[in-house]
């Protein structure tokens, strides 16, 4: 934003030296090509998925995979939601529950933890932080089995909690919250809060949390996406299909294609619809992490 504004206001001659080395057409072209290739690489599968969800089963195999034939999208969606007593809708709601609640709690916990690590001095702080940081390196898949054995002990497998509780933990969120709190929450502001008589908890929720919004939104989004896409944990934990999240439900349909061919259409339409909440979440939340809210607050 700032670069653009400056360009608008300045004379062309003034600008030339500050532009740095002049780019050749070649390098600019190369950059465009690389970006173009990546954009295609990411968009073509989505395009394919969209096209495939608009076709009926016969056309799917016989017509051009990247262009429309007969428009059956709404009929497909209707069939999808009707199949098996509307279990797909149930899965969608489950996913929203796991990902929405899980990401929200994860964000609060990680935010508080990161803030505490950044703003309070206590013995063993670095050790604690390093242990949490180590958690970033452990893949969720590796934790699924030990978690299953633990949850079995307390009879929590095959329940909503079995997928929700592990999702509340986000070591990366703690890490991000800590560095962001260090940089964006000035000690002076916390001091000022204390002098005005606010307790630590109140200071956190009324002042610090607002300053940390961009980081917290990022943590929320990361966690939301990773819970939404988490596959192995539900696979290990869940057995009742009423509890499945949408990814796992679609996967189990996909493994049965040979027995029930009409599932192919449902899997495709279902996959297409299942990415919509992710896109919505991104569009709604992206404006929050544009700039640091606290910039200039203590000057």
């Amino acid at each position: 934003m700032s670069l653009l504004t400056r360009t608008d206001g300045a004379l062309a001659d003034d600008l030339k030296p500050s532009r740095g080395p002049r780019e050749s057409i070649l390098s600019r072209g190369a950059a465009l090509v690389v970006m173009g290739v990546f954009t295609l690489y990411f968009l073509v599968p989505i395009w394919w998925l969209f096209i495939a969800s608009t076709k009926d089963r016969g056309d799917l195999l016989t017509t051009n995979a990247l262009w429309f034939s007969d428009w059956n999208f709404f009929a497909n969606v209707g069939d999808l939601f009707a199949y098996n007593d509307g279990i797909y809708l149930r899965w969608l709601v489950n996913s929203l529950g796991y990902a929405g609640i899980g990401a929200l709690l994860a964000t609060v916990v990680a935010g508080m933890c990161g803030y505490a690590l950044a703003k309070y001095r206590f013995r063993g702080r670095e050790v604690f932080f390093n242990v949490v940081l180590g958690g970033v390196l452990v893949p969720a898949t590796a934790l699924a089995l030990p978690l299953f054995l633990l949850f079995s002990q307390v009879n929590l497998t095959n329940t909503f909690w079995a997928v929700l509780l592990p999702s509340i933990v986000s070591p990366f969120g703690v890490y991000l919250s800590r560095i962001y709190a260090t940089a964006s929450v000035p000690d002076e502001l916390i001091e000022a809060g204390r002098i005005d008589g606010a307790g630590e908890v109140r200071t956190f929720f009324t002042i610090s949390m607002r300053l940390m919004t961009p980081a917290l939104v990022t943590v929320f989004l990361f966690q939301f996406v990773s819970i939404w896409n988490n596959f192995f944990l539900p696979l290990i934990m869940l057995r009742s299909q009423e509890l499945f999240p949408v990814t796992f439900g679609l996967y189990s349909w996909n493994t049965q294609l040979n027995q029930i061919p009409e599932l192919r259409t449902y899997v495709l339409v279902g996959s297409f619809l299942s990415i919509v909440p992710l896109i919505v979440a991104f569009l709604l939340l992206q404006r929050f992490w544009r700039n640091g809210l606290g910039t200039g607050s203590v000057k």
Binding site: T62, T141, Y251, T255, Q256
Partner: protein
């Protein structure tokens, strides 16, 4: 998709490690005699947990629940066995909260038994008495080659036959092959006509095993103490050499199975036949809808003219997991599910389950002509094939790994780096190594 696969593979590795730790030294293969007292009715009402991924199974179970208020069955579901449910079973066994009953395909049954995850149903008189109702080789699949063990109730079977494009064979004046020799001669003519006689799939090791099975080959034997692994035996070698020739002479297509390309190859008439199991009828009609009416089914080509021998591809059983408190009720339900006319009819309608009982082959729905196959009564062919499957074929306890190794080798062979035989040799070695690593005794 790639991602999830990797996750699953990692999970398998972990599970095997856990399972190993759990039964260190316990991987024995002799279970001794079954204890009849263990199979006594429970007091009071019973609720059983049953995990299966068969489409429509809920409706079939609902029929049982209605008639048996004192033995209620709760169905749980998920992806198919290799798609994740087996992993889930293993972790539940490890945690001691496995369901009472579960769907297990024949080729995975041994691995559950070796990990001590199954109840021996031979303790139940009803189960032992039911043996005669089943097609002999399906019973062989659940006894796992033992004398006094029954580790599941057979559910369905996959006798193999030859699906072929009758219209194309006729138009080009090619006779439908009855021996593998004729099949190769036909392959040459089909190639001249611009098609491929079939697709050699590197992923379907089960199909390849079916060919070996047809020729009375044995990949695994278990004498009660030790396992013998023989992936490179005479029959395996014959089959591998045969397909290697077809590959070398470019007479077969090599599309990855079950993909869109694969479906398209069949749908567009590029590939003319498929040696597959009874459930393949559904795969063709769904994957190649444009070819409706042009397909027929003939008995599998034979290794020697005049033979009548068939292979099998797929099929599953209902097993009772170790630790159940209701063995008697569980077997009652399993027997009803797999032998009663009402259940078999319902399963056939909802999921094309092809019964494992001899009586089941006479279901009315299996006597009708099938429109997609030009009105041919194709199930007659499969019913005959079902009676021609060698009853002694046994699967090993580490099939997931064996399949993966053979498949890797086959993939190389298809791209010209190596041969099918080399793939089998490599898989032979790694299978023995895997068995040893899991403390499963191997004879050499």
């Amino acid at each position: 998709m790639q991602h999830t696969k990797r996750a699953v593979v990692t999970g398998v590795a972990l599970l095997s490690a856990l399972a190993l730790a759990g039964c260190a030294g316990g991987g024995g293969s002799t279970d001794g005699g079954a204890d009849a007292a263990a199979c006594a009715p429970s007091d009071g009402d019973v609720t059983l947990e049953f995990t299966s991924w068969i489409p429509g199974i809920e409706d079939v179970v609902a029929m049982w629940n209605e008639e048996n208020p004192d033995i209620q069955v709760e169905v749980q579901t998920g992806p198919n066995g290799n798609g994740g449910t087996y992993k889930s079973f293993f972790s539940q066994l490890e945690a001691g909260n496995a369901p009472d009953l579960g769907q297990i395909e024949y080729d995975a049954l041994s691995s559950f038994r070796v990990q001590d995850g199954l109840e021996n149903l031979a303790a139940c008189e009803d189960v032992v008495a039911a043996e005669d109702e089943f097609i002999p080789w399906t019973w062989g699949q659940v006894t796992l080659g033992t004398e006094d063990g029954v580790y599941g109730v057979p559910q369905d079977s996959g006798p193999m036959a030859l699906f072929y494009r009758s219209d194309l064979f006729e138009q080009n004046g090619i006779d439908v092959p009855t021996t593998w020799e004729e099949y190769k001669a036909a392959a040459v003519k089909v190639r001249e006509a611009g098609g491929y006689i079939t697709n050699f799939s590197t992923a379907d090791i089960n199909q390849f095993a079916g060919f070996v099975w047809q020729g009375n080959g044995d990949w695994f034997t278990n004498d009660g103490d030790e396992w013998t692994v023989d992936l490179t035996g005479e029959q395996s070698t014959t089959v591998a050499e045969y397909w290697q020739e077809l590959l070398d002479e470019d007479l077969v297509a090599t599309y990855p199975a079950w993909t869109e390309e694969w479906n398209n190859a069949y749908n567009s008439g590029e590939v003319w036949t498929w040696n597959s199991a009874v459930w393949g009828a559904n795969s063709i009609s769904s994957g190649a809808p444009d070819t409706a009416g042009n397909w027929s089914v003939a008995p599998s080509p034979q290794w020697a003219a005049g033979d009548a021998s068939s292979g099998n591809w797929g099929g599953s059983s209902i097993a009772v997991f170790k630790g159940t408190e209701h063995l008697y009720e569980a077997t009652k339900f399993a027997l009803w599910l797999n032998t009663s006319d009402e259940a078999l009819t319902a399963l056939n309608e909802s999921a094309n389950i092809y019964p494992a009982t001899t009586a089941g082959l006479d279901l009315p729905s299996l006597q009708e002509g099938v429109e997609f196959y030009g009105g041919q009564k194709i199930y007659d062919v499969f019913a005959e094939a079902a009676g021609q499957v060698n009853p002694d074929f046994v699967w090993g306890p580490t099939m997931t790994q064996t399949y993966a190794d053979v498949s890797d080798g086959f993939q190389k062979a298809v791209t010209g780096q190596g041969t099918l035989i080399e793939a089998l040799e490599a898989a032979q070695e790694s299978t023995i190594a895997t068995l040893k690593a899991q403390s499963i005794p191997v004879a050499e």
